[in-house]
Every structure is written in C-alpha cells, then in structure tokens.
Amino acid sequence: MVRIGVDVGGTNTDAVVMKGRDILAAVKVPTSADVTSGLMQALVEVQVQAAIAASEVALIVIGTTHFTNAVIERKHLAPTAVVRLCLPAAQCLVPMVDWPDDLRRAIGDHVFLASGGVEFDGTPIAPFDPEEIRRIGAEIRKRGLTAIAVAGVFAPVNDRFEREAAALLAAECPGSRITLSSAIGQIGLLERESATILNSALLDLAHRTVASLRAGVAQCGIRCPVFLSQNDGTLMDTQQAERFPVLTFASGPTNSMRGAAFLTGRYEAIVIDIGGTTCDVGLLHKGFPRQAAATVDVGGVRTNFRMPDVFSIGLGGGSIVTESAGTPAIGPESVGFELTRRARVFGGDVLTATDIAVAAGRADIGDAALVRGLDPGFVARCEALIAKRLAAAADRSRISPEPIPVVAVGGGSILMPERLGELEVIRPGHYAVANAIGAAIAQTSGEVDRIYSLETSSRETALAEAEREARSKAIAAGALAGTLMVTEREDVPLAYLKGNATRVRVKVIGDTGF
C-alpha cells in the first residue's frame, strides 16, 4: 500500500507517491482556479508515473493555503455571530476591536456578551444563565446568521460553559455552525477569540472545499481516507478540517520543513525553503518546526494559535539583479512565476538570481550560453551577496551556538552555496517537492494547555494528568498508541499568583494508524 501527499500551492500543485520511506513518483502541475481539477490532474499523473493502481492507495494527505488566502483576500467569509462568555468581566474591549475595518465589515457587527466565563482556576466569574444564551440564540436566528463563534474567558482552563452555551445555541439556531474557542487556541482572550471568529466565518467555505477535494479524489477512483495537514505538521481528517479550517493556516511552511527533515534524516536543522520570490526560514527541533512564541498576524488579525516560527526574506530564484557601479543588488523585486519567460537563460531580458546561479555553473537550467557574457567578477560578487544574505537568515533562526546543518528545499535551492559560513549545507534529492512529502508523512497529535492549581495536587500529578489527556486526544484523532512520544512538555509557574498556579502544556505525537 502507498500514501499520496499533495501540496496545493498558489502556483503549483505538487503530488508524491510514497511507499514506506521510498518516494515512488513526484509531479508538479499548475494549480487550477477551482483547485479540484488541478488536484485530479496531479493525482492521475503521479499514479501513472508510480505505476500503481488506485486500490493501492491507503491514505491521501492534502496541504492547502486555500483558507489562508480566503482571509487575506477577504473572500468567501460568512457573516458571523460572536458570543463572548465573560460578564461581568471583559466588557472594556469588544470582539474584533483590533481588526482591519474591511475584514470586520466582511464578518458583520453581530456581537453578544453573556455570563459564563471562569477564573484562572476554573471557578465561575458569575453564574451561567441558560436563559440569557437562549435569548441571544433567538436574536441570532432572527438575524439569519448560521456561523457562530463562542469564546469564554479562561475557556482553555475549563470549557464547560462554552459547551453548554453551544448546545443551547444549536437548539435555538438549527442548521448553524458553531466554533468554540477552547478548541482553537490558548490563553489570550482577544487573539483566541479572533481565531475562533475567523474559523466560524470559514466554515461554509471549508464544507464546500472539503466536499470538492473528496469528490476529486473519488473521481480518480481512489477510495481511501483523505486528510488535510495542519499547522503543526500533523494531519486531521476531513470532518475535522470541515470544523477547524484555521488549523491549516500555516501548513505550507510546516510541510516543507517536515519534508526537509524526512529527506535528510536531520531532525535538528535550519530549513531554508527558497521559492521564486522569497525564502522561508525556520528551525527544526526533533523533526518538527519550532513554534512562534508570541502572536501571529493572519490577514491583519492577531491570533495566538501555534504556528511555525518562520520568517521570510526577499530573495528567490526569480529575484531581479541590478548593478550600480559594479555593486550588485538582488531582490526583493522578482519576476515570480514568469521566470521561464523573462529570465536571461530562458531568452528573456531580465537578469535574475537564477541567471547568476547558471553563470556560476551552480545549475543547469535554460540555456547557459545566454549568460556566458556576464563579467565573472560581477557574478562572483552576486554569489557572495546571496551567500551573505542566506547566512544572515540562517544565523537569525539559530537558538544555540551548537553547529547545525542548513537544509535547502524548494525550486530556488540552486542559489544555495556549498556552505554558509561555519554551517554545513544539505540539498536533498526531491528538494522541489518537499512540501508534498511533508504532507505525505504527516503524523497525528494531541495537546493540552491549561493552568493548574498546585494547592491540591503536586506538579508531577498535574503533568501526568495533562499527558494522559493529550494521549487520549491523540488516539481519538487516529494516532497509534504504541508510537506516541511527548514532543513538548513545559510548566511555567505564574508570577504574582498565589495558590501555586502553574501553566502546563503537553503535546504528544504519534504515527498515523493507517
């Protein structure tokens, strides 16, 4: 049996067929406007190249930037009712207060505050009032809204009232789709609530998109389970993806980093994914991307769910090279997807970073004769500049003085020199489809992030309880119990809080049981 990994990017749809650790086939086709026909073309081509039958496919994992793009472009977003469970606290700033106006308009101004928040130790701030929620539900139904976001103060500590409110709202608003903040993110009300609202606003699109991806797979005659890859490099089934589209927001960079780890066998490394216009730079720890510490901006909205700590620099294969008195400048302007038309080696008239790589004998793309006339001294200065910028980017993502390898993936990897200063550089085979490989190898996880009071139990008991819960979450999501490993375990005593409050975060990851 084989697995297929697919990366539906803005420009290309990549697909790979993997059997165990072997890559049987890899293809790249243009992404179609409807997503599905490009997906089908990639699935058909990759099966032909691998010489496999549809019945041999055990699992398909799809990585997509479709939902991120919907937020960035403010398209396909449903008007959403926001119910914040907080009273009497948290009235000072209303939901979406820090959003860009155009995005807030797309969601509508349907905000309701009710009781039902809890303290850091889980006790109610004020009594929960079911009647209050029913009244809000009736108003939501009257306004004709079907997308609802529910965010309770300290719901990550105790989600009881979020769940009770959701049940009441569902009864009042038949056919509605509800997202609970406790299922989305961590401590930090505004950021978690914003992510919850975006999720609710994307639910209609998620249902349509998931249905069409499944239909595309089915039309190719493939009958296996279909999964989507999520921000943390693990997968979720399509029912989960229909409910939590925001969890795919950062799957692109995550998949390329996971693919890089797989292709090289290096689990502690800096990964530089070099595309046509930019490089994405991030750090692998235990084979997974290091997560961002603070808030992450999505389409102008601060959110706090776990995203890879990846930054971009304006350097890629299509970056335009200019010269001023012999001194080169490279990027951030790029010819982008027009590389094969406008770059010198393809007969165009724009000097690009790719032309430099070809002139330096680093790559064999297009017609090398077309760049033979370049001054070798200038080419060498360009090479030095590219190496300097890549070295600075690698250096910025290091978190310790230990030497660490740099893995180059992505179509623009030809720009990468043999070494970056003291750092070893690895450019694995199949570097151009690292994304799709990362999707194919996605694992399954479970996570707990909660504040415990250590007055009644010990730190060890709290950690053990959190780990038990994370494990059962992972198993419920499809992980094989015997393969589960704790990848993150931290407890942070909370400054200025008596009662020995401590924040515990545990995450376990295991192989997917297919």
Binding site: C86, L93, F120, V153, I187, L189, L190, D395, L497, A501
Partner: protein, 361 residues
C-alpha cells in the same frame, strides 16, 4: 495643558515598552482601551508638573497582578473609576488628577483610561521613570509618601479599602493576597498626594518622554532609517553596542524572571563581548569584567532594525539587538533612592552604582 491624541497613544505604547527596560508588562490592551476612549469622545488632558496646583489632590493608579490573567480576563471597564470613587469617598475630597506609578510598560496607559472616564487630567510624570518589580519602588514611597489609604477594585464591583498598613512592604503583601482572591488582577488606587509633593517627588515629564521616544521610532520605521542613534540623541543615551545574543540563562526565582544574557558584538562592535543581568528588568551591563551601567540607570535592549523593545520573556538566542543606556532621573540617584532601587536592593553586592551621565560628561 494639552490633550492626548491617538497618535500620542500609539507612540506612548512604544515608548513605554522601551522605558520598561525588559519588564513592565505589555501595553497592547491598554493602548486599545485608550484609543477607544479617545474615539468615544472622552478627551484626556496631560498636565505638566508646573501646571499642577500645590493643593491639588493627585492619585496614583494602575493594574496589579499577573500579566497572563490580564490578557485573558479583560477588565469590565470601570474598575479604575470605582477605586477612584472609593478613595474620594473615604478622603471626603474630589481627586483632581491621576498619575502613573510606573511609566515603563502597561501601567503607563492605565491612568489615561480612568482619567478619560472621570473627566480629569493625567499628570506628566510617574513614580519610577522606568519599570521596577515591586510596588514600593516608587519615588512617591522613597520620599516619604505612604500608599494607604488605598483601594482595590475588581470586575464584579468589589472594592477593598486598605485603611492603613504599617509599612509599604505590608501594603504590598495585603494587596497581593486580595488580588489573588479577586482572580489574579485588579486595579489599585493609592493614597492621593498633594500637588506640592508630586512636584517634588514625581519623575517629571515622563509621559511626554515616552511619547517622544515612540515618535522617534515610528518616524524612523516609516522612513526606513536607523532608529537607534535618533533614540540616543533624543534621550541623551549611550549606544553601548549592537550585538547578538549568544547565551541566555533564565529561571524563575520568588515570582520573578531572573537571568543573564551574554552578548557578542556585531557590525561596528564586532569582537566586543558583554553580559546583561536581569530580574524582570535589566539590572546591569558588564563589559571587560567591569559593570559599565547598573540600576537605576536604564539598560534598554531593542530590536536592532525596528528599534522596538524586546522584553525579557521574548529574549532568545541569536536575536540581533541594540543595547542602549539612558540616564535615570536624579530623583533615583539620591542615597534614599539607591537604598530602595540601587544595585544592593537587587542583591548585587559587588556593584557600585556609577551614574551614567556624569561619567559620560
């Protein structure tokens, strides 16, 4: 008296984070609330010290508690106003103006929120000129003012009045336990001071200073120029070095984030090495075995490109930073002040405070 604008608030949040010298809490929520008040048409006047009447009644106000609770259980909104009204009722006199106890970090903005609601001005000054980890480390306390009577208010409407504490340390302990019972955060208002005392004991013009700092950074960001020399010029600061963090040790000790940062010079400072110690805030800057700067002077660590403050919780290996020293106000350099906020108050026994400006002169 001039009125604060939205641009002032944006700049103040940036400048307050810089004056936080690594601590002080994030001003983000406070900034959003101030902007909201101004947009609702509740203007806030900024009163210079020399505009303050000698018999004016000036009250320090700010948030107390765990910053992590503050970002989750946001305030109801009128906590500050309730604390203010409680002290007015107890003292039998209207409060004329509010003042921040700590300009560094989130508490630079709290008085503005309550001032907007009460329709009174804020004073252009504060009790630290920076951030410090404990409530009694203010110039108000150092020069003899007692924080009680004080009031604490929570989001439910509870107001606790502390009629009298036998020392500033006792007030801190009593207030902390009330805050925990209230759910981890509260707004605290401390005993009002006479205008004449504020003129003598407050670190002057620090709201303006923070706004100016923020403006310098915003302008540099907008024009893609290097903010660091502009900040130094605006604050008579010293650009100690541009550096990369090559080692970071951090642990919690008695509720404080304590640690040490090793720095290696970059660009024009290549080859240099230095150490910075911190306890919530940065305490010392040491180069070639010699402490060049120490508390209460301000050690400021900024992102080398953007000029934005980097707080101790988000420090990490490999960050490229600019390290600056800004001279603290003379009110923090007297013998009485150094006993409370000098190196020895932080357990740095071998360190002698050598004032920055004097050495640079």
């Amino acid at each position: 008296m001039r009125y604060l604008t939205e641009t002032d608030i944006e700049a103040l949040a940036i400048g307050a984070a810089i004056l936080g010298t690594g601590g002080g809490g994030n001003p983000y929520i406070g900034k959003l609330r101030c902007l909201q008040e101004l947009r609702r048409g509740n203007p806030v006047g900024l009163l210079a010290l020399d505009e303050l009447a000698d018999d004016a009644f000036v009250m320090p106000i700010g948030g107390i508690g765990a910053p992590i609770v503050g970002i989750e259980k946001l305030e109801e909104g009128d906590e500050g106003l309730r604390a203010l009204r409680a002290l007015e009722a107890y003292c039998g006199r209207k409060i004329d103006a509010l003042i921040s106890a700590e300009i560094g970090g989130g508490n630079a903005l709290e008085p503005i929120i309550t001032a907007a609601a009460a329709g009174i001005p804020v004073v252009d000054g504060d009790g630290m000129g920076r951030a410090f980890p404990e409530m009694q480390m203010t110039t108000f306390s150092i020069y003899g003012h007692r924080s009680t009577p004080a009031a604490l208010a929570d989001e439910r409407g509870n107001v606790v009045l502390f009629q009298h504490a036998v020392s500033e340390g006792w007030f801190e302990r009593l207030a902390r336990s009330a805050v925990v019972t209230m759910g981890g955060t509260a707004i605290g208002a401390e005993a009002p001071m006479a205008g004449s005392y504020v003129k003598r004991a407050a670190v002057p013009n620090t709201v303006t200073q923070a706004i100016r700092l923020g403006e310098v950074v915003l302008r540099a960001n907008a024009t893609h120029t290097d903010p660091i020399p502009l900040i130094c010029a605006a604050e008579q600061g010293v650009h100690l070095m541009d550096a990369k963090i090559v080692e970071l040790k951090r642990h919690l000790q008695g509720g404080f984030a304590v640690g040490e940062i090793a720095l290696e010079g970059i660009d024009g400072h290549a080859g240099g090495r230095a150490l910075v110690q911190f306890q919530n805030e940065f305490l010392t800057f040491e180069r070639d075995g010699r402490v060049e700067v120490s508390v209460p002077d301000l050690i400021v660590i900024l992102d080398v490109d953007s000029g934005r403050a980097i707080t101790t919780e988000v420090l990490r290996y490999g960050q490229r930073v600019a390290v600056l020293a800004l001279p603290c106000h003379p009110l923090l350099r007297t013998a009485e002040a150094l006993a409370v906020v000098g190196p020895q108050a932080f357990g740095l026994d071998g360190v002698t405070f050598r004032p920055l400006a004097r050495r640079q002169a």
